[in-house]
Symmetry: C2
Subunit: 132 residues, 2 copies
């Protein structure tokens, strides 16, 4: 059951706030890693590459959790539990460049490895909690 | 198999850096919440209260993950996967006050609810990754 993100907290998805993404390892244990995120008006999106731990994790189990703290006030935050509902390479190169622009001010992602295949993941929120 | 936290990154556990704690819900999905943490020389510790979601989660499944970003440089971070090896009420009131002092500069935890029973959780690190 999708739940909307309150308008009052959408700024957290627009500003340069890191998200901490929780996924499930193959043994059922949790993994948390910082990710860049944005919001396409319907889904929260992040970007990774084929074969990375979080790529393998969400292909196996699409359930994820995100914690996003306001960098200007860590007692204001947004927590989202949901599912990755789309995994696509379409537009993923433009998407990582757009995230790079958002978070670093540079137009092109500088950490690309040879042969790396970028992937965009779209998250539908099932449960949204906000504080502050 | 316990793994030591590199000395170079211990400052992240001493400064006012929030940790994002991943735990496992009863349905096996991930939960991520920001927590205050400290380091007792052997274990990374956080504090919660009996009956909270993360309290119930780690009593059911002690496996956790922590992501700690340097507030002065988000591209410097520490990721820990491990297990809660001790859950105790002993000293937990002093511990939450000590964390309050560390993170807010105030000597006493101000958000206490009537009847709330504080708990300290000690995490042994199994896998430590650091960047930056």
């Amino acid at each position: 059951m999708a739940q909307a993100i309150p308008e009052k907290y959408l700024d957290l998805l627009k500003k340069k706030a890191f998200a901490n993404l929780g996924t499930i390892m193959s043994d059922g244990s949790p993994q948390v890693t910082p990710v860049w995120v944005d919001y396409d008006g319907k889904y929260v999106r992040f970007n990774s590459a084929v074969g990375r731990v979080k790529d393998r994790n969400v292909r196996r189990d699409p359930r994820v959790s995100l914690s996003i703290l306001d960098p200007e006030n860590p007692y204001r935050y947004l927590a989202i539990r949901g599912r990755v509902v789309e995994i696509t390479q379409n537009g993923a190169d433009d998407h990582i460049n757009s995230l790079t622009q958002k978070y670093t001010g540079q137009p092109v992602y500088p950490y690309r490895q040879p042969g790396e295949v970028r992937v965009t993941y779209k998250i539908e929120a099932d449960k949204v909690s906000a504080l502050g």
